[in-house]
Subunit: 363 residues, 2 copies
């Protein structure tokens, strides 16, 4: 990616598709990303993305993200909320912050820093704390790199709240408790993990936005979008078929769901993907050997090139569209002992007590 | 087994050990069985066990079982409760019932019919509705054989309650709701599934008490009780080691737990058994291939021959005793399509979406 890159509206559409795909079932619904693209257009300003390598060691930045309120109105995400949180974090740390840092990849959280970039004219780094969407704050690479967390701000035009802890798992629990407890009536923006350029370089997985852009372009491949995406990402097709079952179980601290895809034809094989928003594990209906686990990416698309998340799965179940489940190897940075231990703990919370089942790491 | 057999107190002790082992982690704590053995001794009467083949087709019988109340005092199971429920079922069906039918195998529910036999002088059939403890009423062979359920009675000296349904799954849900809702302050006896001799013959797995007796005797083998039991049952040792972790997750309608056994030595392999009271699935810590699932039996013993259930697992974790997890193939009668579908549903409720992983059925 040239440095800096100004994203066109075509680029934003491609990134939406690519980020939704790489989000591995989570990362926010497509509609949320579409709303952010509209919000960005309304600012009349471009989104600027810069290579991580171009960020000076003494630069400053922070993660910009969004958090959903269970009591939020259907009117959409408040577009001023990320800026409210960002300004409050700047006030607390006592200086301005120069770079917007994405937390993860997905149709929602990829676009919050973009929106802030258009609103504030600050650049977004071409990188993120994960190469997919992750179910908890402690599962991102900034945590693995030992970047101190510091203050977390949640805010919208109604309420701004901050708390400080050095433990990302404690912060994650506090955020869940605050949101679950109904502290925010509407969705909120979040600004957190203020860091310097050296820490951004040490923590971020580089090129995640460029990759989402490229995946989004390949999804438009007129011949075989599945093959185009699989080749580019070094992945494999776990199954092609239709969505034959969607389930949701509430309890145990996590709301877990599952999506079953069944291959066409009589006696078709099936694969069931279990999610906690994000896809975590793929069970074969035919074998007691688990097919794949997080942190590897379990990505959804229709075979004609439309990415989707668990939020859209019911639509494609209803339409009986042909879909594909694509396994993509996670980045080497997602495979530190720290993160693998964290993913093992999440997998146990959804009932899997075996070892991680991962593709070989890409070079 | 000679017909009828009068069980000695040595036999009862052996059956307690064997039933606890075959109960596959569930079926009630050992202390409950010990209390029933004391209660039986106090009656001064013997327990009579008869071969299923000796039951005339026009005989009458019903299941005698016990149900636990979450608010029960620690003072033990009320020994008069099973008789209260039994007499009420006789009153409702309008005739006396001649044979006591065990529901499942375990340290608790194997002994309730024994206690009633000593109290009422009625014979107990040498058979049960499962060759292990099962997590729900619809997972027993009487359900698979299509024996009409009819009236279910729950009762103790405080309260007697009955309801009727033909669907064992509905009855199971109603019993859980009644007990969970605090209707009974103390544990209760249960009498249900009134049936005739022909239905007992069609539904019961034969010889389950004889098998528990034999397993209990083999557990006393002075040389190698593990090998003695494994040879007799055609099973295999999944792991020998110490209990290194015990966990419990509440939620999703089931309280699921797990026990991890780790082999001795550095880098020792581990196996984690997930239970809903009863053991349901064994995960290897080293392989993404599931080792075994219900209905196959996942049985606990110390390597010096003491059977134990999940209720006693903490004791052996604390003492660091060497234990073994034994896999035993389930009986052919546990493998009807009806029951395998039922076990698949239970396994999904604890997060496993693959196929059943069973040993070949014994001849």
């Amino acid at each position: 990616m040239p440095d800096p890159l100004t994203l066109s509206s075509d680029d934003l559409e491609s990134i939406l598709q690519g980020a939704c795909f790489l989000g591995s079932g989570g990362g926010g619904p497509l509609d949320l990303g579409r709303q952010f693209i509209d919000d960005i257009a309304k600012t009349g300003n471009p989104v600027r993305v810069v290579d991580v390598a171009s960020v000076p060691a003494d630069a400053t930045g922070a993660i910009a993200a969004g958090v959903g309120s269970p009591t939020a109105a259907a009117s959409g995400f408040p577009s001023d909320a990320p800026g409210v949180a960002w300004k409050e974090l700047e006030r607390i740390v006592g200086h301005s912050l120069g770079y917007l840092v994405p937390a993860e990849i997905g149709a929602g959280n990829t676009f919050i820093p973009f929106l802030l970039s258009a609103q504030t004219r600050l650049p977004v780094i071409d990188g993120a704390g994960a190469d997919r969407a992750v179910p908890a704050l402690q599962l991102c690479t900034y945590a693995a790199a030992g970047v101190p967390l510091g203050t977390v701000v949640l805010g919208n035009s109604d309420l701004v709240l901050s708390f400080a802890t050095q433990d990302p798992a404690v912060a994650d629990g506090a955020m869940r408790a605050l949101l679950g407890g109904g502290v925010f009536d509407e969705d909120a923006g979040s600004a957190l993990w203020a860091m310097d350029g050296q820490q951004i370089g040490a923590g971020a997985i580089r090129g995640t936005t460029s990759r989402a852009l490229q995946v989004g372009k390949l999804l438009k491949d007129p011949t075989d979008p599945v093959q185009a995406v699989v080749s580019y990402l070094g992945g494999s097709v776990l199954i092609r078929g239709t969505i034959t079952e969607i389930g949701e179980v509430t309890g145990g601290g996590f709301d877990t769901g599952h999506v079953t895809i069944t291959a066409s034809g009589s006696g078709g094989d099936s694969v069931t993907v279990v999610n906690v928003n994000e896809n975590l594990i793929a069970y074969s209906g035919q074998s007691a050997t688990v097919l794949a686990t997080a942190p590897d990416l379990l990505c959804f698309m229709t075979t004609d090139g439309q990415a989707f998340s668990n939020a859209e799965a019911q639509t494609y179940a209803d339409s009986k569209a042909e879909v594909a489940l694509i396994l993509v190897p996670s980045s080497p940075q997602m495979r530190s002992d720290y993160l693998l231990d964290g993913f093992e703990a999440v997998l146990r919370s959804v009932g899997y007590y075996g070892p991680l089942q991962l593709m070989p790491a890409p070079a």
